[in-house]
Symmetry: D2
Subunit: 360 residues, 4 copies
């Protein structure tokens, strides 16, 4: 509890970093969605380790198998089970932490909560689990594509380096043009070089990912606790290493006055729209048809290639050394995860909205 996400499009992920497999079941996928299997793989590839010099060098091909719920290329409305076998685990890398706690990891809290933990590769707390989310998110994206809704994300900050441009000033189709997934070419190289230097120092660094959802109709979101941004925020905060979420004007909005912050309505053609969009596409928790945009803050990866003081299970002092193959910065590989969680959130609200009025 709770390894499930969603109300009507409900996913449950499973699997440990060094167990036999990770995977996901989707209960409530609408029937009749065309399942483009190569698209799912391409999304997994975007999250895969070993894709560039600024990511971990682990080799996980992350091939997947769909066990159920798809017939002759289409979803049937029955549960989709999708499994990704683990293949490149080097569990020996982790024997040193079988009884010791890595700083700012979940070793201590899992041990205390459950009285038992699979320490290999971080077990269930490993970000490897997010591959299952990306696979499920790919299927959600395929459904949203039919509706003209897209969820996109990109790296907007690494350490202190950030793009000064808003998403409206960037060409998001260029996100995949560099290994960082930052569509602002004027800063991407500096960021990449910075990460590379941090890596050589045996250190890690945090960053920010910006997400953009376009094409949503008016009316998605459920007052009062399940405002669209509340669940979207939970979706993002549920990603490993995330420390903050803001949407629309965000924390900057707290500094503003109402006279400057309000989005005035106007009519454009047949549509009621707003002149500005500090609301971030959501008013009263419900989409107003404008773009939804948001920022997600990631802390630096906890595993560093340095010795750190710590304690073991009995509280004795010990030293934990950085081993294994790890990311110096999580954001390049987290871009597809942010997109996936956004897609899962929006699709679920879309289905919920279909029950707002009776269709006779």
């Amino acid at each position: 509890m709770s390894n499930s996400f969603g109300s009507l499009f409900k996913i449950t992920t499973f699997g440990e970093s060094h167990g036999k497999a990770i995977g996901v079941t989707i209960d409530g996928c609408p029937a009749g969605i065309e399942v483009d299997e190569s698209f799912i793989q391409s999304e997994l590839d975007r999250r895969r380790p070993g894709q560039s010099k600024i990511t971990t060098q682990r080799k996980e091909p992350d091939g997947y198998e769909i066990l159920s719920g798809v017939f002759e290329g289409k979803t049937t409305g029955t549960p989709i089970a999708l499994v990704i076998r683990n293949t490149d685990q080097k569990s020996k890398d982790y024997t040193h932490i079988a009884k010791s706690y890595r700083p700012s990891h979940a070793d201590f809290t899992y041990q205390e909560k459950y009285g038992i933990r699979d320490y290999r590769g971080g077990g269930r707390s490993s970000a490897r689990e997010t591959a299952a989310r990306v696979a499920a998110g790919a299927i959600a994206k395929l459904a949203l594509r039919q509706l003209g809704i897209s969820t996109q994300a990109y790296v907007s900050q690494v350490g202190e380096l950030k793009t000064e441009k808003s998403y409206l000033e960037l060409d998001l189709s260029k996100t995949e043009d560099n290994i960082l997934r930052c569509p602002d070419e004027s800063v991407a190289d500096d960021m990449i070089n910075f990460i590379d230097q941090v890596r050589k120092d045996g250190d890690t660094v945090g960053g920010v990912i910006t997400g953009v959802i376009t094409g949503t109709p008016v009316g998605l979101g459920e007052p009062v606790f399940d405002k669209l941004h509340a669940r979207l925020g939970a979706a993002m905060l549920g990603i490993n290493a995330v420390k903050g979420f803001e949407y629309g004007s965000g924390f900057e909005g707290a500094k503003m006055k109402g006279s400057a912050h309000n989005d005035l309505f106007e009519k454009q053609g047949k549509e009621i729209t707003t002149k500005t969009n500090l609301s971030g596409g959501i008013q009263g928790g419900i989409t107003n048809g404008q773009d939804i945009y948001f920022n997600v803050a990631f802390k630096p990866v906890a595993t560093i290639m340095r010795d750190q003081e710590s304690v073991d299970q009995d509280g004795n002092s010990t030293t934990v050394s950085g081993r294994g193959r790890h990311d110096p910065c999580v954001v390049p590989r987290a871009v597809p995860i942010v997109e996936a969680m956004a897609a899962l959130t929006v699709l679920d609200f879309y289905l919920l909205h279909q029950s707002t009025v009776l269709k006779g």
Copy 2:
């Protein structure tokens, strides 16, 4: 859907701003909690309109009545229903928006989503609904008090003005000493004067509330989607006017390196603790026994005492004038709401944690 919050300690709020009443049902309140009715009233009083010159001047006494679930002063484990009658509605103040949309309010999105809305006072989208959360939160606080857990909050920023002190440097027992609920006396007066000036200008301003949860045992929080901070974030983002949430190092953490960010373990007496707490008391989504602290960003109140361009339901241009009695800044009255949502979140996780292992 979904006006409910929580898994085991589950509340459902109801009511519109100018309807007969607002209220809440609590399903899953543990049996045997002593219900201090005057404490519940005192919490409602902290949120009540008309409490100072920097809040709305509406007069809502917010007296409440418990209809069920309490017997001889204690909870019985059956649902608690609590009703707060509406008494000071001036619905005439709202006839001008029966068919027009106030900028950055939920008028448009509710109308489009449901095809009908109670426009009086914003109806269901009014922040009046949060009184029901405060009442439920008060009962959660009473339960948490038995466990030595407290949830506190205070105003840390108004517009551009902010305290430079961390919660550790402040005496939170002084939060109620001024009408702003900012325990940093060195900035509170400036903030109050600023809000008062904004009010005189017919404008509004945003702000930030900081929350602190102390006394949690190790082990609260449910991987992977229901990390404690994910649900806490959703709880906060579900409060009206909230645009952002961060915990621990937050957005600042995105700028840092792992070597500086990691919290090293050490043993203090019999307890395993951490030397620093940039994690904000949560690792891998699960409490580690340290303080949980977080920031919540509120946008400026959308209702300003000025004329604003807008459109009506048919898309015709119109002007919306500010009327009624509104807050120039939401944060002073939002402090108890933040505390209430934190209490509801933590208590729910506490109960969930009781099912982590079988008790024979």
Copy 3:
């Protein structure tokens, strides 16, 4: 937990028999349903005590008040709260069981589960709680009426006396023509006289209610655990005093051979229908468009007007005497409860079905 029923049309009931009030909140009622308040009252009147010589003589007018969720006569999509004040409690009738356990009541189990109980009138375990279900069910019926779906029930058995006619051979519009709510005039009087005799003997008797749901479209029901009849069964078994549920051929079906039991398909006009309906309108958990019919068995009321041996909270032997005003047979007043639970179940599945495919 769990005083809620339903997934999308979700009700939560509250209240104790002798507390201030009972009531219900409905979260997820579709917007735009016309709320016929007199119909709701008429449904409550059908369940009300004191309506005839074969029911309890308690006087509970069961007037109700809607606090929220309805605006200008229509539902708004926001939560509906409905409260029924308690008025005719004679709590003194119950002081003798404050510490003693009535046989086959819930006194013992509530006390052991919660460590506390409101003993007055059975507290939360009283069938008085079902009035809230009837009120919520009335609103569900109003929604279903728009869709051409009806849920009806009638008494088909009292003790050993039963109608030999199937629902197809009866005119259900005559159900309300006698105080028993049995549309088979050839047995109704005998049943009524039998109940009256049982009452004079200070005893009680069980019975069976038959339910019929007509007008459902093909496709309602969710495999595999939430088959329509599975949730319908849970709905019925959740009514006080119910000991059994069967639908379609039911327990008789267990005696049959497949060659006799199978419902052969045929085309009638443009519709695919079945020649027989031993399936009871549900195949694979999903409605096939035929009538749904089912039986619900009620045990005899536990409170009898005789002395019974029992024990008190400390396990000491004691005698419990029948006091208060009780029903000699529960089925006449349970008819509207069965209808209400059926309506709540079907409407919820109707809404769920609206999410089976994406509507673009």
Copy 4:
């Protein structure tokens, strides 16, 4: 929706009869349960096809693989994924029903609900799905065993033939002594011969399974909608082919008088117990510590080895011939399914009960 069962011990099954695999994920399994893998296999073997002359002759070894959630032989509190590969599908047996509807099967309703169906072997509507429940139920049984709780079932009726003995008069340890799983040796042979004759006639027959749950503590069950027997009933009614459920006195109880039906309390040693148990171990929806017993009615298997009139997808008349390898009577193989669903239900309530009061 909804292929999940349970609130805290929550399972989600997946898979089609002739797809790659079926399986289950368990979210919320308590940590520290010893996983006896051979026990799980032995439970699957009890449900497996081809086990005797009175079951289908299909050969499905039903070997399984656990992918996650178990470490060094114990559950870790993280999701358990368990997969059973399909191996003996003869999908060609089903091409004749790709566009035709088998009587009293789910072909028609699935097609109409989803607009698409995997017709091979019945797809998702096949009882093959229940193997996943048996596997999950085996893990629940292992958890319950630690608590001294057992769930047992046996065949009590086949067609018109039934045992006249109550469960108290039978030795349930003999259930596995014959291929029917009926511990009453005086009728088992007759029942077996009857099924064999029905099989030779190309026909099928229904039956009844009786379940018994022993060792539950007082206090399991959640008022008011989730009474223990309400969810237990839903669990049973969710099994393929089930038409009815009754517990305790059941439908017989409807004929009785209160003076005969009430279970009088008495003290035995330190325990408060009841002299009789017509309540079936549950009062007010909550266990009272006595045995829980119940009956489940199964209709005859719909696939018969005879030609039957039907229609195709377009409504044209057609003939459906019985093909494939099917059970003449479902009850022998359904015994472990009934036990599994009972175990899943009770364990879930056990965990829920752990949250009834705060543990400080």
